[in-house]
Symmetry: C2
Subunit: 203 residues, 2 copies
């Protein structure tokens, strides 16, 4: 009764897709907005749910916890990375396989940059969110290592290449976010890979 007279539901109009008008998406939008307005810690989950025209209990049916609502894309990202590793050219070194996968991933495109930026600002100011981000990155690394093993790369090479690939990813992502000339993400990956080589070899 009270979950329907909300504030934001009008943005995604009710009764257009009938009952569930992308409840999950509404929760994600409401959470991002509220986290930005009041800060993560100062935002009770109940408020997010209310803003989305839902109940706290329903929020927890869509997301495992208060943080997860900001990490919706990670599953798809991981799938694409794994596919990229599997389909990479056969003559590459393990690390090159991972960076090649990062380049062809088609995930960090201009349309997503603004959203990624806002999200990043939130993460930077909140340790709890950073923890979750690191966990997702670790999952990414683990999946990449598994995909490398499927290509015949042995341990510990696979895990090391995957972790090194994540280091490249972090550097590349940071530059892509800050970059005002809007270079392609793949460009930043190549730059970071070169930097890593230099850091490893040059005194």
């Amino acid at each position: 009764m009270s979950a329907t007279d909300n504030q934001l539901a009008g943005t995604y109009n009710r009764n257009m897709g009938r009952w569930k008008n992308d409840a999950r998406g509404r929760l994600e939008q409401a959470a991002l907005a509220l986290y930005q307005e009041r800060g993560f810690e100062q935002t009770p989950v109940a408020d997010i749910a209310a803003r989305a025209g839902l109940t706290e209990r329903t929020y927890f049916r869509h997301f495992a916890d208060k943080r997860e609502v900001l990490f919706g894309g990670s599953k798809e990202l991981q799938e694409r990375l794994v596919r990229g590793v599997a389909e990479a050219a056969p003559h590459l070194s393990p690390l090159e396989v991972v960076t090649a996968a990062l380049e062809t991933i088609q995930f960090f495109v201009p349309e997503r940059r603004e959203h990624a930026r806002q999200r990043q600002r939130l993460l930077e100011t909140n340790p709890e969110l950073q923890e979750r981000e690191l966990m997702k990155l670790a999952a990414l690394s683990g999946a990449a290592a598994e995909a490398l093993r499927s290509r015949g790369v042995a341990e510990p090479a696979a895990s090391l290449a995957a972790d090194a690939g994540m280091a490249v990813f972090r550097a590349a992502f940071g530059h892509w976010i800050d970059d005002n000339d809007v270079q392609e993400f793949g460009h930043h990956v190549q730059q970071a890979l070169e930097e890593l080589r230099a850091v490893l070899l040059r005194p």
Copy 2:
């Protein structure tokens, strides 16, 4: 009144150092034991405190949250790593500086191995603890990068070298934990560094 008739306080006898007989240490022991016996999630903080002869409120004066009790050594580890980076030989590459620091760190010694093993088993079976571990590792990486910058290493080289160093660290630590021949930690660091080089260069 009730916090004194506890179960474990006798292990570290009361009234030896007067009032506070290493309350912090008692909490760490109690937590490790209970997390092993019942599992992390199934152990209320109140039980840890009671086992240490203290109150839940007092637990939270010693540790920021339920997980932090397992990460007491991380501050010292970070200090040693930073010192190692600062004091490393001048002719090394940035990554070699970090791995050299890891080798001279004198932290992963045989006496700590059993405790490290038990702790590791806990982490492996609990995502919440893994998140915190990753956060500590990220802090380590950040501190190493900062120390590299103090040596004149520019960005993004410093962060990349630090992250790559953490990749080496993870691999080395994993082998040190599993190693039955009890090789020195520094040995595993060198092995991992070589593996990383191979992974980067060899097709």
